[in-house]
């Protein structure tokens, strides 16, 4: 539902929805660590491809995944341009600026790294009820309070976003010029202050009220907490754990054997 805002759980019944949250957390950890081992774009691209394939198989809509990518899209472009300005092998020169091949490859590698992480995060978050995520983290040994804190952070993203819109409207009504109307870059950044300060204060107030409401409902009463769902490892979960573990071992093995650690490794083969 749109009201849940972007970057949130989407109701559904795909095989990923039914997967044990712990398996998905495992997937997330592997897909955060594995890309960091490699710098070769071909290996990194394979990871992006593999995780995209998983998303496609389980019929996660492109729109859902794209909602996660959208906020970092500008960063991708930025990295490709900036990284390309440093290097040793010139690709193209324009006046004082030179664009380098190795710089570009490094930028691309970073983009692929982030992309595989973001897509995995999209898959995990959009198919796991936040409450289950807490149960999963808890059963993996994370303290309840920490797991709950993470859940609450997610829970309040849409609330704070809609509040930010409201505040922006209120300030616009007082003649605040926002976005392109504001003028140059510095003025645009300054135009955020009238929105950010009330938002910050309102977030603090929200946190205060929430903590009182939680006290009133016995938060921290006992170490023995009952969760709505009990987790049970099914056959499909076992299969996935093995698959992910094998992928991780192959990845680490390849890297130890000396593959994928060179920026030009695969490119030079062609």
């Amino acid at each position: 539902m749109a009201t849940r805002g972007f970057m949130a759980y989407v109701e559904g019944d795909t095989f990923l929805h039914r997967l044990d949250p712990r398996v998905k957390l495992f997937l997330l950890v592997v897909m955060v660590v594995l890309p960091l081992l490699f710098i070769d774009v071909v290996y990194l691209f394979s990871l992006v491809l593999a995780i995209s394939l998983l998303a496609a198989i389980s019929r996660i809509s492109f729109q859902v995944v794209f909602n996660f990518i959208k906020p970092v899209l500008a960063l991708f472009v930025f990295m490709l341009i900036i990284q390309g300005l440093w290097g040793v092998e010139p690709l193209y020169s324009l006046g004082v600026f030179t664009y380098y091949t190795d710089g570009f490859l490094l930028g691309l590698a970073m983009v692929f790294r982030m992309l595989s992480m973001v897509i995995t995060a999209a898959i995990v978050i959009s198919t796991t009820e936040p409450a289950d995520l807490v149960v999963g983290m808890r059963s993996l040994g994370m303290p309840h309070k920490v797991a709950f804190m993470i859940l609450t952070a997610f829970r309040f993203v849409p609330t704070l976003m809609s509040r930010a819109m409201l505040i922006q409207d209120a300030q616009k009504a007082r003649g605040l010029k926002a976005g392109e109307e504001a003028g140059n870059f510095i003025k645009r950044v300054l135009a955020f202050l009238p929105v950010l300060i009330p938002l910050y204060i309102s977030a603090l107030e929200l946190a205060n009220k929430l903590s009182l409401a939680m006290e009133a409902r016995g938060f921290g009463a006992s170490n023995q907490i009952t969760y709505r769902k009990e987790l049970e490892i099914q056959r499909i979960d076992q299969v996935l754990i093995v698959l992910i573990a094998v992928t991780a071992i192959i990845g680490v093995g390849l890297r130890l054997a000396g593959f994928g650690g060179n920026l030009f490794g695969s490119i030079e083969m062609f």
Partner: protein, 584 residues
């Protein structure tokens, strides 16, 4: 056996000065199954008292507490908060900020789950709690998609699933529309009658209390002013109104008639039904008679209509349709003229399109179809900044706009954006501050002001922009009656100075007493428009948008057969219609 016993309770917040008290020597006790209301203006100590019952005060807040509270056998000084919370369910005013779960089911599971109860038992409790608040089948719904009344009932069910023996509700309905208020009070009645729960409800809305509440404790400045049966406390009109508490309108009417006639009429009835019955009896017994009120009411209605003498239109709306991208239409073909110098209220249930409509007036939204003209200029051709010079808009929550380090600078933000020169800026800010009575606070840090004063600050910051049209969204929500009246007096003064005032509100009694013209919206369509008394008298049509006319108006309409005029919208008018027999 007393389930709650409070003895010589005094409390001071850590931030409070040495001689100030949030609660000052409060003593009372409540027996099991009793239903008690705590009445009092903002700052009287109602919330503090509620939070003291489960130990949050002083255990979470700190500060100094003397005296003692025993709740269900536990001394709040000795027991810890979770143990107390299991016995005293405390519910807060704002539903939005007390939800921890994404779905209703998670929300209800949270409290009992914290105590590690068996899953089956918790699920059973959830079923029971949802049934009590009449939200069966809502398990998988998300609170964020629900109405205010539904949200607050979810919050109530979440407390109930902990099976408390005492319910303490801190202003559970003050952020709700009338429909939501009725829903919550229905649930409470259910709980009282079927479950025999002990209930404490802090509020300043009195109309819903009779029929639910047995007893009232009136607090002011941390002290108990009155404590007694509800029907007795409501008779103390002078004390109540002196602290800004208004008993139900029929009580005010009854007491007012006694003063006008200089005769005692017996105990004032508390509900609409009993008031109608008792008043008929008085008429039948020949102790009072109804004056020929037709002329007065007609005069009232026509006097208003003649007011803005069909001059230039400040707002002109033609066939306005609006939908958010990818959504259903929110406004469906609205035609509306608001003449310059008008003072008009926009009413209707949440989701009827009130805010969406007025956001078109200052260009925050642009029509999907149709047109909106402000002083003859189409909003699509004028920028929001240019429009904000002509149309000021004060949003509901003042805290959503305050960001400067001093009152003066806060008020100056708008006029500066509009490019006022120094001289005009100084003049605009000082006169705005003077108008709202904050000139002495001009160097104060805004968040050191009380809620009512912050509301006035937000108003001043819009007034200082010197726009011809002022839109005020819910100016009285969360304010007590006294501060609400001050705000409305201010709006009246602005209107007298020539500003066009458009106010969005749920507070029908305040509309009836203060705003000459009213527009009612229902599901994106203009339902009614005209003089307030005429609009409010259309009870059948208003039902469509969940607006209930003021109690005194329903009283008049119920007595139409014995000659009570049905367009009497205020208590003062109603009193003026009753006279001694033989006066004619």
């Amino acid at each position: 056996m007393d389930i709650v016993s409070v003895k010589n309770l005094s409390y001071r917040y850590p931030t409070q000065l040495e001689e100030a008290f949030a609660l000052n020597n409060v003593s009372f006790s409540i027996s099991e199954g009793e239903c008690v209301t705590i009445l009092g203006p903002t700052g009287a100590g109602k919330s503090t008292l509620c939070m003291a019952l489960n130990g949050i005060v002083p255990k979470v807040f700190g500060g100094k507490m003397t005296g003692e509270i025993i709740v269900a056998g536990l001394n709040t000084r000795e027991a810890n908060v979770p143990d107390l919370a299991q016995r005293v369910g405390l519910m807060f005013q704002d539903p939005e900020s007390q939800f921890v779960g994404l779905t209703v089911e998670d929300e209800l599971f949270f409290g009992a789950g914290n105590y590690g109860l068996p899953r089956e038992e918790i699920l059973e409790r959830i079923r029971w709690a949802l049934q009590v608040v009449r939200l069966k089948g809502y398990e998988r719904r998300e609170p964020s998609t629900m109405s205010g009344g539904e949200k607050q009932r979810v919050a109530l069910a979440a407390i109930l699933s902990m099976k408390p023996r005492v319910l303490a509700l801190d202003e559970p309905t003050s952020e709700l529309d009338p429909l939501g208020r009725a829903e919550v009070f229905d649930s409470l009645k259910n709980l009282k009658e079927q479950e025999g729960l002990t209930i404490l409800v802090a509020t300043h809305h009195c109309e819903e209390l009779p029929g639910l509440v047995d007893r009232a404790i009136v607090l002011n400045e941390g002290q108990v002013l009155l404590d007694g049966r509800l029907e007795d406390v409501f008779q103390e009109m002078d004390i109540l109104t002196s602290i800004g508490i208004h008993p139900p309108q029929v009580v005010e009417f009854w007491k007012g008639v006694e003063i006008r006639l200089g005769a005692s009429l017996g105990a004032a009835p508390l509900t609409l039904e009993t008031a109608c019955r008792d008043f008929r009896e008085l008429v039948n017994q020949g102790r009072v008679q109804i004056a020929d009120g037709r002329s007065e009411a007609a005069e009232f209605a026509s006097g208003v209509d003649a007011n803005p003498a069909s001059q230039a239109n400040a707002v002109r709306v033609r066939d306005l349709w609006f939908r958010y991208p990818g959504g259903l239409p929110v406004l469906k073909g609205i035609d509306l003229d608001i003449p310059a110098g008008d003072y008009v209220a926009i009413i209707g249930q949440n989701g009827s399109g009130k805010t969406t409509l007025v956001k078109h007036f200052n260009g925050l939204l642009k029509p999907t179809q149709g047109s909106v003209q402000i002083f003859g200029k189409d909003t699509r051709t004028v920028g929001t900044t240019a429009l904000s010079q002509r149309v000021g808009y004060a949003f509901q929550n003042p805290d959503h706009q305050i960001f400067r380090p001093s009152v003066w600078e806060e008020v100056a933000f708008g006029p500066k954006n509009l490019g006022f020169d120094k001289e005009r800026l100084d003049q605009a800010v000082s006169s705005a501050l003077q108008m709202v009575g904050l000139e002495a606070e001009k160097d104060t840090y805004p968040f050191n002001l009380g809620k009512g004063q912050r509301q006035k600050l937000a108003l001043a910051s819009v007034i200082a922009m010197q726009s011809e049209v002022l839109i005020i969204d819910e100016p009285t929500t969360g304010l007590d009656t006294r501060t609400s009246l001050e705000v409305l007096r201010l709006l009246h003064e602005l209107n007298r100075q020539g500003h066009t005032i458009i106010v969005i509100t749920h507070d029908i009694d305040l509309v009836a007493e203060n705003v000459p013209r009213t527009i009612a919206l229902s599901q994106g369509v203009l339902l009614l428009e005209g003089p307030t008394a005429v609009v409010l008298s259309q009870a059948d049509l208003l039902k469509e948008t969940y607006v209930t006319p003021p109690q005194i108006m329903r009283f008049g309409q119920a007595l139409a057969d014995i000659g009570f005029p049905c367009q009497v919208a205020t208590v003062q008018e109603a009193i003026g219609i009753v006279e001694r027999p033989g006066t004619r």
